[in-house]
Symmetry: C2
Subunit: 261 residues, 2 copies
């Protein structure tokens, strides 16, 4: 048996999330079907984690055990020809049998994108949350900084979370503003990308953080309220859950595993 | 009567082109329907030119005569709420009655995008032509330069062109390579954007120029063959018509008309 590990990008718009569900098409279903068409094996893949309905991935990672002898460098193209065009496998490596996409992950990075220009970008509309009102971006960046560290993130977890512990470590979180497409003399504020890297994330955690930052950006909350919200460990103290389409699982870090990012 | 002029972006993927057709949905149909829903007027809009099925626009321009008294600053949002999400009106100005979107245009710019990375970009797949083979980009740029000037572009026009003259002026044409998403140690070549600005363009002209540049990039033609292809005035001497999805009507220039671009 070989243990193969792959990096996959997908546009989550059409899917009921990554993980196989009783109802509706998922990214996992498509990947397992493509592997079956290629090797004849009916197997289950194991991903670094699930993504919700409508959430995208640039660098989701999964692995599976196979008895196929297809050389590793052929897998990406062989699978891509058997996948719909909104799912693209873009790296494949053979890993030790002990490798496990979820347990072996060292850190994960998500990106959330707000389009703060006056009008939505017609070409990016499925991966940006459009917010045309004025946002105080420095205040949002200030609020975000309070989340770097190891905390109980219960205030930022879905009420449906079943995890025994809500303690997670955020290694880095920052905002990058891209104003390259802002029109002169307009009230365009550009694209506001939030990147957040952590040991792991609770259900809806990144989207609730973003929803809270949006309230800070709109002046409904102050940046210095962030530590208080954390301390309360109460979901009702944080902001709403931002819509899924702005969220991308950007990268999963396993140390030296992938030559490319 | 007022003459209103608007700038519109659209994702052309779902449409049979800009201009109303006997069969199939077009961008023009959607815009006229939105105006009808807003004002009750059944009118015809006039655009800077048509775009083919599957071709996109960032800055298409159209105008129309209306007896509506709606203030100019309300039109964008009023129309956008009545338009599908793949069409966005993003500027509106009142113009003299003599203004005509096609006749008054001074120059037009198109952009064609090739993704020359190993794998397609799942998020941009509907607006990039993916070409994974090695391309000689400096040779493509060299070939393109020969097209700047005033020439008979019959070799680069659809055989179905009905225009009395094929003489057009290309003011500028250049290539911009964006390698920001190239993976290290890969054979990714980045995004190759061709921008071309001219007095006007013949049917399929930009796509045939791109198809010819691709042959130059692949080593099937030499850059210095470009002047010969122009001189022959024979469609069969140029390369194939590149696929529509990589093409965007980028901007139409009317001088001082729009404050923003």
């Amino acid at each position: 048996m070989r243990n193969l590990c792959m990096k996959v990008s997908y546009d989550g718009s059409r899917y009921c999330g990554f993980q196989t569900q009783p109802k509706g098409s998922t990214v996992q279903d498509c990947l397992e079907k493509a592997i079956m068409l290629l090797t004849g094996e009916e197997l289950k893949i194991l991903a670094s984690g699930r993504t919700d309905a409508g959430v995208h991935a640039y660098g989701q990672v999964f692995n599976f055990l196979t008895s196929s002898k297809i050389p590793i460098e052929r897998w990406c193209i062989a699978l891509n020809t058997r996948l719909p065009e909104d799912i693209i496998v873009r790296d494949a490596v053979e890993v030790p049998l002990a490798f496990h996409s979820r347990h072996s992950a060292k850190r994960k990075t998500y990106r959330y994108t707000i389009n703060a220009n006056q009008f939505p970008d017609v070409f990016q509309r499925k991966m940006q949350y459009h917010h045309s009102g004025k946002l105080n971006v420095p205040a949002m960046a200030e609020g975000l900084k309070y989340l770097i560290g190891t905390f109980d993130f219960s205030s930022f977890a879905s009420r449906h979370s079943t995890k025994p512990s809500h303690v997670r470590t955020v290694f880095d979180a920052h905002i990058v503003v891209d104003d390259s497409m802002c029109r002169p003399n307009s009230r365009d504020q550009g694209l506001i990308h939030m990147y957040i890297t952590g040991s792991g994330f609770l259900q809806h955690m990144v989207r609730i953080i973003m929803g809270t930052l949006l309230e800070i950006g709109e002046g409904k909350k102050l940046p210095k309220e962030m530590p208080q919200i954390l301390e309360m460990m109460d979901r009702s103290k944080a902001g709403p859950t931002a819509v899924s389409k702005g969220l991308v699982l950007w990268n999963v870090d396993y140390g030296e595993l992938f030559e490319n990012y």
